[in-house]
């Protein structure tokens, strides 16, 4: 479109490439396993939040049930590997496709709902899936699945000795999610989604097929979220329903985008970089006693940021982003 926009997009791409390059070098200097672990989680949540942002930020359909797709990704990979010996890479792809298909099947009735009715439907559906998995004996019920160690290899995507391979995969995942968003932002879909978010009725009257564009956003968002879930299953090598499909995951996926700037390209990345290390550090340094101080810090932060900067923290970096963050 206009040159200023094209320039901004080019600049975004260059900045992202520099950040990705620098991040790739970090493990050369940081050898501490605890810190590496936090970096892996930060990148994973950046990717997850970026995926969540596609449906909830750009298209405006606030989902608090994305744990469903995360869990489906994790379970598909783990079940295919433990029960049939299928390599995690195929499980990852399968989990992504299953999640995208389920997102569309659920979207068919749900996208007629608006506002809080939609939000509650997403929570209720994810909770239903959680209950079903907790009672599904073949899938390990509430005890979950222990993914057996078969030796370190990229083929089986298992690494017991070093966290580095997970770090690089998480980095690639975050970059892919960012690139997909970057590309979609300037595509036909991106414009449709923003129109649907701002005013669905006006968009419909101007010829945007509102329903189809919501379905598209849901499918892309669910696919990427499930890839994140598959990755997580391999990373922690033990999953159970509550730990991959619980409500807290839906919330943790949404928060970075909300704090960083919902419906913006950089919001989820910025939010994850601030929020995830903060969560992990408060948990290990003051929350270790299980006395809830981490929750108090974390919750206060959410309240303050959402009241003080409703457009998210990205607005602080560039005044021009303010319109984009709307």
């Amino acid at each position: 479109m206009d040159t200023a926009f094209a320039q901004r997009r080019r600049r975004d791409l260059i900045v992202a490439a520099i950040f990705a390059g620098l991040s790739a070098l970090v493990p050369l200097f940081v050898k501490d396993v605890y810190v590496q672990n936090i970096m892996v989680l930060t990148l994973m949540y950046a990717a997850l939040s970026q995926s969540w942002n596609i449906l909830s930020g750009y298209c405006g359909q606030i989902s608090l049930g994305h744990a469903l797709y995360f869990g489906l990704g994790a379970y598909t990979t783990a079940l295919l590997f433990t029960k049939f010996g299928v390599l995690p890479w195929f499980g990852m792809l399968g989990g992504g496709l299953i999640s995208a298909a389920i997102a569309m099947a659920l979207g068919y009735p749900c996208f007629r709902l608006r506002g809080h009715y939609f939000v509650i439907a997403t929570i209720v559906i994810a909770e239903t899936a959680l209950l079903l998995f907790q009672n599904w004996d073949w899938a390990g019920a509430a005890l979950g699945i222990d993914i057996p160690v078969r030796g370190d290899s990229w083929l089986k995507f298992q690494f017991t000795r070093s966290k580095l391979p997970y770090f690089y995969f998480a980095l690639v995942l975050a970059c892919v999610a960012w690139l997909v968003t970057w590309w979609l932002e300037d595509s036909k879909w991106g414009y449709w989604w923003r129109a649907v978010k701002d005013n669905p009725d006006a968009a419909e009257s101007l010829g945007v097929v509102v329903f189809n564009s919501k379905m598209g956003a849901a499918a892309v968002s669910a696919f990427l979220t499930a890839i994140g879930g598959s990755f997580y299953a391999q990373f922690v090598s033990y999953i159970d329903p509550e730990s991959v499909m619980g409500f807290q995951f839906s919330l943790l996926m949404a928060l970075p985008a909300v704090l960083g700037g919902i419906g913006t390209l950089w919001g989820p990345v910025l939010g994850a970089v601030i929020l995830i290390p903060l969560t992990e550090l408060t948990r290990s340094f003051i929350g270790g006693s299980g006395r809830g101080v981490d929750l108090i810090v974390y919750g206060t932060l959410i309240v303050l940021i959402s009241l003080a900067r409703p457009q998210g923290l990205v607005g602080l970096f560039s005044p021009r982003r303010k319109e984009a963050a709307r």
Partner: protein, 292 residues
């Protein structure tokens, strides 16, 4: 499964449903007043239960007597939450819906953290209250007395609320503000005051529910979360903002939960509620009593 067990569980479902209605009505009231969903509603219930517990543990005040005290305390708490947090959240110009959700959600997390910090994550219960553990037999059906009492309190609260909204000046101000907040400002009603009182009233109602719940339910920092989702479903079933929709929604939820427990294992009993919610909104996207 005999006819007797069916009647038995439907009767207890009905009692629980009335209590669910009482838990949810504050949420519906606040939503109807200002289109805000309080995502800390479950935590309001949690602190009411703790307040009841401590009044019992330290001063040996029975939950039945402390219920009005707890409701009054929650009234103040609700009004303060409005004045300190929600008042600013509704002013947000960008992402208004998101700001409301996450500012109240953040509050919920803080409240849970504070409860863990001060009260520890231990499960507590009130052991020797007047009503606790008693049952009464009506025509061969055994009814737990605490739940029966809760149901009566719920009915009384709904009747009181009906007269309050329709017969008092404050009730009329509440109705007028929900119709058109801009116009009431022109006739000299302070919108902020009405909203603060509305939040107080909503919190007082869930406080009442919390006192009754404390008689027969475990009290722990996360207890609100288990009831919050049920409350949202109840309110949404009735149609957001409809106070008497919440009453009907509560009855539906209680009965559906009881009948699900007859068919499915107890760990799956919530599935029936969720399924009914989805069915209802798919057919009527604004709930049973919401205007379309």
């Amino acid at each position: 499964m005999t006819a007797e067990t069916i009647i038995q569980s439907l009767a207890s479902g009905l009692l629980m449903g009335l209590l669910y209605g009482l838990i949810a009505v504050g949420l519906a009231l606040i939503f109807g007043l200002m289109d805000v969903v309080n995502f800390a509603h479950g935590e309001f219930l949690m602190i009411a239960m703790y307040a009841t517990f401590f009044l019992f543990a330290f001063f040996a005040i029975d939950p039945l007597l402390s219920a009005p005290l707890v409701a009054a305390a929650l009234f103040v708490f609700g009004a303060v939450v409005y004045l300190l947090i929600v008042r600013f959240a509704v002013r947000a110009k960008a992402n208004a819906g998101m700001v409301q959700i996450f500012s109240t959600f953040g509050l919920a997390i803080v409240m849970r953290g504070l409860a863990q910090y001060f009260f520890t994550p231990d499960y507590r219960s009130i052991t020797h209250s007047w009503l606790g553990g008693k049952t009464i037999s009506v025509a061969g059906i055994f009814l737990p007395v605490p739940q029966l009492c809760g149901a009566l309190v719920a009915i009384a609260a709904f009747v009181g609320l009906y007269f309050f909204i329709n017969r008092t000046d404050f009730g009329r101000a509440l109705e007028a503000t929900r119709e058109d907040a801009g116009a009431v400002a022109l006739v000299g009603i302070d919108k902020n005051r009405v909203f603060a009182l509305g939040w107080g009233l909503g919190a007082a109602l869930v406080g009442l529910a919390g006192s009754i719940m404390a008689i027969f339910f475990y009290i722990y920092p996360d207890v609100g979360a288990s009831f919050a989702l049920i409350a949202y479903v109840t309110v949404a079933l009735g149609g957001f903002g409809s106070v008497f929709g919440a009453f009907a929604g509560g009855l539906v939820v209680g009965l559906v939960e009881a009948s699900t427990a007859l068919i499915l294992p107890p760990s799956l009993k919530s599935i029936g509620i969720y399924a009914v919610y989805l069915l209802v909104v798919f057919v009527r996207p604004r709930g049973l009593f919401g205007s379309i």
